[in-house]
């Protein structure tokens, strides 16, 4: 044991600092030995460090870095997927909007077409109705005409029958000049009124 110096904490109680080998001369052992370097100890400390390095790397650092790397990859993949999904969604929205616009245009066209067709149809129907009405009127006129002609022929027949009856009656009566003239005039009048 080698005394370095005396340090007094109190006047009564001196504290003596001691150190073993601290200032021992190197002597035959040399500088390395004075610093505590020893082949056996060095070997054991190297082994200790090798064990520590093995434990720290294989049990702590390697699993941690591997997990962190896996997680990073997972997060990166997830972000990439999310971006892809977002891009797809945006594209779908654009397509959806395009389809919607197309559908609107198509719908407008259909509405326009239906309007045009409806107008055309109404015009056609009006035309048809007009024609039918005209046809009905013509038919009615023709019927009236036929009726008229039938009536005229009936009247003529009746007139002829009347004349025949009248003639037959006159023939049966003695006619004087006056009656004869009156009869002829009356007959002519009746013809005129009929015609």
């Amino acid at each position: 044991m080698f005394l370095i110096e005396n340090v007094y904490a109190t006047s009564e109680e001196p504290i003596v600092a001691t150190a073993e080998h601290t200032t021992q001369p190197a002597g035959d052992e040399g500088v390395a030995a004075s610093l505590g370097i020893n082949a056996q100890l060095f070997g054991f400390q190297l082994l200790n460090f090798a064990i520590v390095a093995g434990i720290v790397w294989f049990l702590i650092l390697k699993p941690l870095t591997k997990t962190m790397e896996e997680r990073k990859k997972l997060i990166d993949d997830s972000i990439d997927n999310a971006k892809a999904v977002e891009t797809n969604l945006q594209m779908s929205e654009v397509k959806f909007q395009e389809k919607l616009d197309e559908a609107k245009v198509e719908a407008n066209k259909i509405i326009e077409k239906s309007h045009t067709e409806a107008e055309k149809l109404s015009v056609d129907m009006k035309e048809k109705a007009k024609k039918e009405i005209e046809m009905l009127i013509d038919q009615a006129k023709r019927n009236i005409q036929t009726e008229k002609e039938n009536m005229m022929s009936e009247i003529k027949k009746e007139t002829v029958n009347l004349i025949i009856a009248a003639v037959e009656k006159i023939m049966n009566e003695k006619l004087d000049d006056k009656k004869d003239v009156a009869l002829i005039e009356e007959t002519l009048r009746s013809f005129r009124s009929v015609s």
Binding site: V7, I15, A19, N48, F49, A53, V56, L59, L61
Partner: protein, 269 residues
């Protein structure tokens, strides 16, 4: 009446023997760290899920923060993960070992005249072992990444030296300049070899020195005033522990990054 301040010696103290093997107090601290990592590792490996639990969440948060700093040196996450077996192990082991040294019992529990527990990084054997792993690891990575001969060519620049003789056909002056340049490059290569040794020495001594100094400081302060006064120093040591872990691992990742990058001019061909 006098009480002694026990200042820890430079060499770790032998607590007991297993056969011919000396078991030191720093080794016990390293074993405690190993047990903590083992328990944490087993629990974590069983509980690891894509949807993390509380423990996994904390571990991932801490790891993500550390990886962010490493990414700043390597330039990309892929490279960082490639170097993580060495750099990550160094960072977390150094950090835990340093912080374990602040737990109650370290320095105060004694076996005979020796402390039972002592921060693992106050043992130069351990810091030297880690520094060697760091520097040798950087060369192994470099052999794999850029090829054995390309990497060795950074240190033994004989190729340029041989090529320089061909410059004599353009004239004696050109040849002489080329040979002189090649000689300088050869010397620079040899200096690079020395710098590799310096890397090991500086890495190991820096960590050892800082943690040992902290241990001595806390021992002295605790011996002078047992209560409250050592607390700020212990908080300071928490910071020192983190800084030293960061420095050691950052330097390691710098060495790895530099070693695995192609030498100047090689990428042009």
């Amino acid at each position: 009446m006098s009480s002694e301040i026990h200042i820890p010696p430079l060499a770790p103290e032998v607590v007991f023997h297993i056969g011919n093997i000396n078991i030191t107090n720093t080794m016990i601290n390293a074993w405690i760290a190993i047990i903590i990592f083992l328990v944490l590792g087993i629990v974590l490996k069983r509980a690891i899920r894509l949807r993390p639990g509380k423990l996994q969440n904390w571990c991932e948060y801490f790891l993500e923060a550390v990886l962010g700093y490493f990414d700043g040196v390597t330039g990309n996450r892929k490279k960082t993960v490639k170097f993580l077996p060495i750099v990550g192990s160094i960072f977390f082991f150094v950090l835990l070992s340093n912080w374990l040294g602040l737990l109650p019992g370290t320095g105060s529990i004694t076996v005979g005249h020796n402390m039972l527990l002592r921060p693992a990084n106050t043992d130069l054997n351990l810091t030297l072992a880690m520094a060697l792993v760091s520097v040798i690891g950087s060369h192994v990575y470099a052999f794999i990444a850029i090829g054995v001969f390309t990497h060795l060519g950074k240190f033994f620049q004989i190729k340029n030296f041989i090529k320089s003789f061909a410059q004599f056909k353009h004239g004696i002056a050109d040849g002489a300049i080329a040979v002189f340049t090649a000689l300088i490059e050869f010397a620079v290569g040899l200096i690079e070899i020395m710098s590799e040794i310096a890397k090991v020495v500086s890495l190991s001594l820096r960590l050892f020195g800082n943690i040992f100094a902290g241990e001595v400081l806390i021992s002295v302060i605790s011996a002078l005033v047992a209560a409250l006064v050592p607390t700020p120093f212990m908080l300071l040591e928490l910071l020192v522990g983190l800084i030293q872990a960061a420095v050691f691992s950052m330097l390691t990742i710098v060495y790895l990054t530099v070693a695995t990058s192609a030498p100047h001019g090689a990428e042009e061909h």
